[in-house]
């Protein structure tokens, strides 16, 4: 552990400001609260928003899990985890059930999260209306007036162009029937996990200097049209070639001979299932 840094890297003044921001974000679900995003020893756009939230929340009793695209072992996850461990000395895990704080890029774990856990999501673009309206002053006004035509217009354009809703990830949600917000670039498959979630979800955008939150037991609805309802990716007929699970989010792997296999995207879930399978065989 590096003892030249304060606990959890930040000075106490920075922690205070970010903590105040998080509390207001929780009080106004889905609203993006501006904050003075700090310079981090990780480049902006590489999870600094999530990292700042994790650092101000974390304490000595916490157990941390960090994932990137479902994997505990990809570069972004490993470097963030190493950094937090180096400045706090806390325990880390890959087991979703054991973790008390889970920082994630682009996925919500397969295992259901609980009230005593916090999910921290890294957000590249926190403004769902940004593609429609480039001015921040103007999008703030649109949120104030609940003028969300733009969000549906963008969906409508997709339908006109491709015949269906073509968002792959980051499908806009409406939180508590008021604000529209980004769920971070999680696949559509994960959007329903946010609705009435038992755990608190905090979303941080370091480069864009915004934090928004979804408290537990809060209505989160993916936006759609009555005659073109929101649909998640369908993997129901696919089976993981490693652990045999189905009904989870899968990675498609194309072999050299052109054949296709599927594998759970959530690696720690897959390992657990494999372990269980092995125990059952005995």
């Amino acid at each position: 552990m590096h003892d030249k840094y304060n606990f959890a890297f930040f000075d106490e003044g920075s922690k205070k400001e970010i903590r105040r921001t998080i509390l207001k974000a929780v009080a106004i679900p889905g609203y993006q609260v501006p904050f003075a995003s700090r310079e981090m020893p990780v480049a902006r756009g590489w999870g600094t928003g999530g990292l700042q939230i994790t650092l101000v929340c974390i304490g000595q009793d916490d157990i941390l899990k960090v994932i990137d695209q479902g994997s505990d072992e990809s570069v972004n996850a490993v470097s963030i985890k190493k950094f937090i461990k180096a400045t706090t000395g806390i325990k880390e895990t890959i087991d979703t059930e054991e973790a008390t704080i889970i920082q994630s890029r682009h996925r919500i774990p397969e295992e259901k999260l609980r009230e005593d856990q916090i999910l921290v999501l890294q957000v590249p673009t926190p403004e769902p209306l940004r593609n429609f309206e480039p001015s921040e002053a103007r999008t703030k006004e649109l949120h104030a007036n609940q003028d969300y035509t733009g969000a549906w217009l963008m969906l409508f354009e997709q339908i006109m162009k491709y015949g269906n809703i073509s968002t792959g990830a980051d499908h806009t949600v409406r939180v508590n029937d008021r604000y529209i917000a980004v769920p971070s670039p999680i696949p559509k498959f994960d959007n329903p996990k946010m609705d009435n979630s038992q755990c608190l979800i905090l979303l941080g955008a370091g480069r864009e200097k915004k934090i928004h939150a979804i408290p537990p037991y809060t209505k989160v609805k993916s936006i759609d049209f009555e005659d073109m309802p929101f649909k998640v990716e369908d993997f129901s007929d696919k089976v993981c070639h490693e652990c045999g699970s189905s009904g989870v989010f899968m990675d498609e792997i194309i072999n050299r001979d052109g054949s296709t296999i599927y594998k759970c995207n959530d690696t720690s879930f897959c390992l657990k299932q494999k372990e269980r399978g092995r125990l059952n065989e005995r």
């Binding site: 552990m1 590096h2 003892d3 304060n6 606990f7 959890a8 106490e12 003044g13 922690k15 205070k16 400001e17 903590r19 105040r20 921001t21 998080i22 509390l23 207001k24 974000a25 929780v26 009080a27 106004i28 679900p29 609203y31 609260v33 501006p34 101000v56 929340c57 974390i58 304490g59 000595q60 000395g89 009230e115 703030k140 006004e141 949120h143 104030a144 007036n145 508590n176 008021r178 604000y179 608190l200 939150a213 408290p215 537990p216 037991y217 809060t218 209505k219």
Partner: protein, 194 residues
């Protein structure tokens, strides 16, 4: 590693406040309050909340019979004292509840564009309990949650009025003598049970 007890206490206080704010009705016991070197004319929990929330970047107001409390708070946190309508954090000490209605109605509510500028009001009460006096619903609550604070109910009307135009509004934190706290973010609907 500077193993500073204060740093760890502030983190614990924040996490408990975050729990109570994200799940209205959840009463968090702030055991850290027992260990503080305490010489303020307010409850230990309030003092911890001051330390956790205030600094030079925010303004506070305090309603107290003790004249020197505001200087004490400024010295502790570097935050400056402001009138109610300009304060980001408002502390209402025990025995000043008759002012509550006025304070809630004068407090900052933010704007439609910047609702996060609405004030946070910390109210000291004798004791907080889960007795079924107030029925809470809204984000953070599974179906219903219950809360009871020994206050005459006029504060509820004032709060309803302050929060009538969501997302503008005020967020309330209760602190009690037994080192407990509970929170009512502006999204929580309160129904009174007779």
């Amino acid at each position: 590693m500077k193993d500073n007890i204060l740093i760890m206490s502030m983190q614990k206080v924040f996490r408990k406040l975050l729990k109570s704010m994200s799940q209205p009705g959840v009463i968090s016991c702030v055991g850290e309050a027992e260990n503080i070197d305490y010489n303020f004319n307010c409850l230990p929990v309030s003092m911890l909340l001051m330390s956790a929330l205030l600094d030079a970047e925010v303004k506070f107001y305090v309603e107290s019979n003790e004249n020197d409390l505001k200087e004490q708070i400024s010295r502790l946190t570097y935050s400056t004292y402001e009138k109610i309508s300009e304060a980001d954090y408002i502390f209402v000490c025990m025995d000043n509840h008759e002012q509550l209605r006025r304070i809630i109605s004068e407090a900052k509510r933010g704007t439609l564009s910047d609702p996060h500028e609405g004030a946070t009001i910390i109210i000291e009460v004798e004791n907080i309990s889960s007795d079924e006096t107030l029925i809470l619903t809204g984000p953070g609550i599974k179906e219903k949650a219950y809360l009871s604070v020994p206050l005459s109910s006029s504060w509820i009307e004032a709060r309803n009025d302050a929060n009538k135009e969501f997302p503008m509004g005020v967020d309330i934190i209760f602190a009690d003598r037994n080192n407990n706290m509970a929170a009512l973010p502006r999204t929580t609907k309160i129904e009174r049970r007779n």
